[in-house]
Symmetry: none
Subunit: 204 residues, 4 copies
């Protein structure tokens, strides 16, 4: 969590009038509101600018496309990643997975991920942005919990941790995808429980 920013950021001498930070905030806020109101497909730059009380070029100056604007908006909106350490890895895991799944299946960020993957090919770099700034940190946090559990002897030393995570996250995500309905905490916890149980079971 320590900032990896190189220490010698020499403050580039920006010329001209600096960008108005309030405009930036207003645009992102308007984007999030409209995402909730009309969804991704129904969102237009025009409406964003109007709701933000901003000229349209001011939006385009910062974000070259709807997709990039939406990514920034949902990332800014995403609840910060915090991990509780209760002492019990299974509890921590259930807590965190449940939170992530609820976020993804009920907040705009999930929609953004779908839209991105759906348009894939053209937007690969954008998808990587989402992966890098959202998915990877969260997966890493889960991975750390699993590693601790292995170190503590609570999970077998040869467990495929990546596969375990794909199962824990994939199953509830798949439910959301095929039913269209958000997945609640209880269901997410039950899945984590089940995967944990089988992981701790000796192979037949």
């Amino acid at each position: 969590m320590t900032s990896a920013r190189p220490p010698a950021a020499p403050a580039p001498p920006r010329r001209g009038r600096p960008r108005d930070e309030r405009a930036e905030q207003a645009i992102l806020a308007a984007t999030v509101e409209l995402l909730n109101d009309v969804g991704f497909a129904g969102l237009s730059i025009e409406a964003v600018a109007a709701r933000a009380g901003v000229g349209r070029p001011t939006v385009y100056r910062r974000w070259p496309s709807k997709m990039e604007l939406v990514i920034d908006a949902v990332l800014r909106l995403a609840p910060p990643l915090t991990v509780d350490h209760s002492g019990d890895p299974l509890t921590d895991l259930k807590e965190l997975v449940a939170r992530l799944i609820v976020d993804m299946t009920s907040a705009p960020i999930g929609r953004a991920i779908l839209a991105l993957t759906g348009d894939a090919g053209t937007h690969t770099d954008l998808a990587q942005r989402l992966t890098k700034d959202y998915l990877t940190p969260r997966r890493d946090a889960l991975l750390a919990i699993l590693r601790d559990a292995v170190a503590a002897g609570e999970l077998p030393r040869d467990l495929d941790l990546d596969l375990t995570l794909d199962l824990m996250l994939g199953a509830p995500t798949y439910r959301w995808l095929t039913t269209g309905r958000p997945v609640d905490q209880k269901a997410a916890r039950a899945i984590v429980d089940a995967v944990w149980r089988t992981a701790t079971a000796p192979p037949a």
Copy 2:
């Protein structure tokens, strides 16, 4: 076409010029081609009509929206659901899951599912259509294999079959969603193997 109508066709008394079947085919074909070329978001009814060599109203006469047209097109495109019975449930399972996953993560039908879920709220009925005509039959086929395996004593009698399927399908789907890349047969089979193994393991 003049005579010997098969007995079970009640022959609705349509008046006027009948719809041109070739137009229908041309539209669906054009839709699929454009889906591959420009993706779902970039697809326009105008372009579909132009590529099909058809007037725009001819498209609207049959499909009231882009979404419905795309669903019909991808359903028609989807490979038929066939199940091999090799005698070994695990083999059949791996074969079928691999085929389904490869389809969903490489063909337009996956994109359509994402687009539908992403736009959810407005298109619930359409999503149900996709679920009913595509997802459910495939899930049912997998379920049948699992039930047979339980009946044959190869899987424990109290196994949660729905959860098992969510794990088998969800893990590879999740990989596709987060990497944006199709999942190949080998990876899909490995996941099925792993889930099967833990399902057959005695609880700790």
Copy 3:
């Protein structure tokens, strides 16, 4: 005045929905109103469409540029060319020149001619349109009067008729151009009188 339209106009078989004549009229009317309200430079296609109660593309479908729209509008607006024959050529000439000058220096058509000439180079073909459909017929009518006067012996046989017209029309036009104010009938008549007088004078 007899129509020079070739008799065998075979009515080209127009396909598709025919253009709405009312839209056309509304656009031209809106253009004329706006020309009077905000002038040529201040006129925007957007405002024309709005005032005409018409979509913007409907304007562009018919007129590719503001210039062409304005030309059509002012031509349609121009008072029809009618010639009175009083028996006295000088009277007829004064009457007609005065009418033409008043039109050009007070109605939008004058502004259009200025704008066209001012932008010249790019709009040559448009300028020719204005010349052909507006200026030339009016000059021809004046020329006919002069010819009659020559034939009747009221003007010298060797009079340079083109120069005479340039003087009669040019002098009041120049006044308008350099003062910016419309030229009234009286001034126009006085100029015609003066030119006529000198034309009938024996060369020194």
Copy 4:
């Protein structure tokens, strides 16, 4: 203003950074170039600033509108008014009229006059500026020649000098306006000749 101004321009005590005279020149030069390249309508302050290598506000600081900038530019560009005195008024008149007409019908100043008159109503004061600084001095110079000719007995004492000038200048201007093409020296001289001839003829 406080004290006795010395006769030789005492350098007013301007504070702060003085205006860059080169910026002013560059802007005017860029304006003239662009007028020739893209015409009055196609000229934008933005392009002027860019070509002059100057910030946009630097233009606005000096000229509040495109119109005023253009007027200054074309006035600065206009050839200085010089009168040759050959001894023969008709020769001098032809020489000067030809020069003025060629200027007006081939250089940007003519376009500026058209644009100004075309936009009239809004820009009356600007038009007066052009009249005062360009048209009036030139007309006065011509008037002086005519007066000398009258005084010398070469033209009748009761000749309407204003009308004579309107004829001499108006006829070629009208030709330019209706043909869109510059009027050459020869044509201008011929018109002066003709008007002069009729002016010297005894009324019928």
